[in-house]
Subunit: 260 residues, 2 copies
Amino acid sequence: MPDAKIILVEPQLAENVGSAARAMANFGLVDLRLVNPRPDWRSDKALAAASGADAILDNAHLYPTLAEAVADLGVVFATTARPRGVAKEVIGARQAAQSAGGWSAAGAGVGFAFGRERIGLTNEEVALASSIVTLPVDPAFPSLNLAHAVLVIAYEWRAARMAAEPDGLPFRAETTLPATKRSLIGLFEHLERALDATGFFRAPDNREHMVLALRAMLQRASLTEQDVRTLRGVIAALEGRPTRPRVLPDGTVTTTRGER
Amino acid sequence: MPDAKIILVEPQLAENVGSAARAMANFGLVDLRLVNPRPDWRSDKALAAASGADAILDNAHLYPTLAEAVADLGVVFATTARPRGVAKEVIGARQAAQSAGGWSAAGAGVGFAFGRERIGLTNEEVALASSIVTLPVDPAFPSLNLAHAVLVIAYEWRAARMAAEPDGLPFRAETTLPATKRSLIGLFEHLERALDATGFFRAPDNREHMVLALRAMLQRASLTEQDVRTLRGVIAALEGRPTRPRVLPDGTVTTTRGER
């Protein structure tokens, strides 16, 4: 899928340019466009903030105006606080990223424009956009750092892309196989025998309730076979029996008196 | 609704602390906890990066260790690259924010822990967490700035909150409250003391690995305070000490020699 473009309009602080490049690289965006940046935009401060994302700065394109920066794009989102008096769709970052992904997959050039640190985008610049993207900031403290705004968009772009391409998902949790129920029951019975021997269950009523509670706890832990062996070793040690767990030919786990 | 806590473990750069505070303020989070920060953590650089979010720095709490920083919390998410060899649920930021909101609505203290800039969290620190949160970074450029990681979490927290609240529906509350980390750590230490006494840990290498594995298992079980009391009674019984768990006035659980 083609890339979304990140367009910074007259960024004032070189470290924001560098930090935006780093945020882009983190989430797989590579195409940075700068509209009339300050002469020091690629200074040591920018490079330090980019933290290795130099290639994005090296390949950045410069334009004199936003109009020229978006000339080849089909869909442009203006990321800005909600402006007054501009009749334009206002959407959230997630919805914008999904929409952008759809347009991009369809072959449209897609860009996100970000305004100046202090004064944002002019109404004329906003007018170049298809939609306005607003982040759900606290009204009591709404001023986002420029690179932070880029970061949220880059993050949502990648999240939308990965939701669309589930095969690449690194979200997937480790797949560890759970212990068989047979092993679990062996563990439960081992624990309960050990507790019976200590007089832990004072009253028969209490026993049933406690056994259920203990079994429920251990079930919730999603134990693996290795976990079951470990816990059986723990119980045996606490019982004062120096034992090692063993796996029988049928796959069940047992503990037998071992050697010291 | 109570707030989620942002916990920075040994942040090295003052501007990252300030920038994290700004990101928190943008998305309505106020409670910052710092574990063993550098002495200059509240320097002019930090204040400049905070860009007006001074109140968050003013009200930050300092702790010597992550264990102490999370002692009063019930649910802790470790934001980190996926560690090897730690058997723990790995989820995305959106899922974590939704889960955190549910726990918070139910009254649990909720926190997100972030590691050091270069080396992240230790395995022991990760072991304190209920789940690991991983951001969908590009594997070719995975190193996120610390404040950027905080920003994504703060953004998702607020997005989840706003998604949950527009029609007056709060986050769906979880039904059973988890034990505090203080109680869990007390349980871990009780078990490990008991095992030390039996010679269960044959070699020191083995001990560290086994302790992490046991803690991970018990964390996964989502134990309540009642569960912790039950398990401490189980351990004490197996140790051969007829004991009853007791709740001290400060809420911690202990076991003392009881009567037969």
